[in-house]
Point group: C2
Chain length 168, copies 2
């Protein structure tokens, strides 16, 4: 239980760490904003919603259980419920009952949703390329991949977290 509350002087960030941290916050928010605007403008939905459609498009039979989809998009089930309701209104997703588990729901990508994805994928890829991959050397792309995987490892929900419902 000692994550806080000890009186030892914390290890502050070095100057370099501070600069890197600011650069990180700056770059990641710029990119997220950029992609959000690009997709909102061209596809009529924010980046995260687009991500949901992508997940569905890659799933067998273009459908996933709500909980699966929530996990792979790393959002809460609550948020997903709202999001799917909206996408359903757009006609891009449809809910289906799960025969084997009466509590369950599938979210299925409709043909219309598939079409939206097909139309917007090129623009989205172009945006990601232009912002990221076309600006980094192959070396740097590798480095970025490694670094991101290290970060994720440290943040991955562990089994311990499963006992802590308030973490989700």
């Amino acid at each position: 239980m000692g994550t806080m509350g000890d009186m030892t002087e914390p290890r502050w960030l070095t100057d370099e760490e501070q600069h890197v941290w600011r650069a990180y916050l700056h770059a990641t928010t710029l990119l997220e904003d950029h992609l959000d605007r690009q997709l909102q403008r061209d596809a009529g939905m924010p980046h995260i919603y687009y991500g949901l459609l992508v997940q569905l498009s890659q799933a067998p039979r273009r459908r996933l259980r709500m909980t699966e989809l929530a996990k792979s998009a790393k959002i809460t089930r609550s948020r997903l419920s709202h999001a799917v309701a909206r996408l359903e209104k757009n006609g891009w997703v449809r809910r289906e009952n799960c025969p084997s588990d009466k509590r369950g729901q599938f979210a299925r990508l409709t043909d219309e949703g598939t079409e939206v994805l097909r139309r917007n994928a090129p623009g989205h890829v172009a945006a990601v390329r232009q912002a990221l991959f076309d600006r980094l050397s192959p070396e740097q792309v590798k480095q970025l991949g490694t670094i991101m995987r290290v970060m994720a490892e440290g943040l991955e929900p562990t089994d311990a977290d499963a006992d802590l419902p308030w973490l989700r």
Copy 2:
């Protein structure tokens, strides 16, 4: 006008690029969620609000014009207005008129706000350290800094954007 609409086959992402892109999305959302929860729990505000207080704490006389603050936090003025209203309710920020420009407002960090920051800085730094800097080699920290700066360069609002109000 030619950002889209040409019929040439887009350059899709290579396998490696796809993996890196997913790792990026995964890691950055995990980290943002983690910091949001940590600060919401300990300080009673989300990460971005905490960032506003930090900016103010580092400004001369612990105050900034609204537009300056919005720029440095990279959020819209509208969003900032709402956010400051909330922080004002908490007693952590106070608005002050600008004598030299009657349209202007300062947001000033109150003593109470300073105290909240003092109390929560150690926990926040620890979270950032634990998630990032303590897991990366010095080499990787440098690489991350370089990569993030390259990204930001490509996304930085240019003079051209100034003509496009819908970009903000």
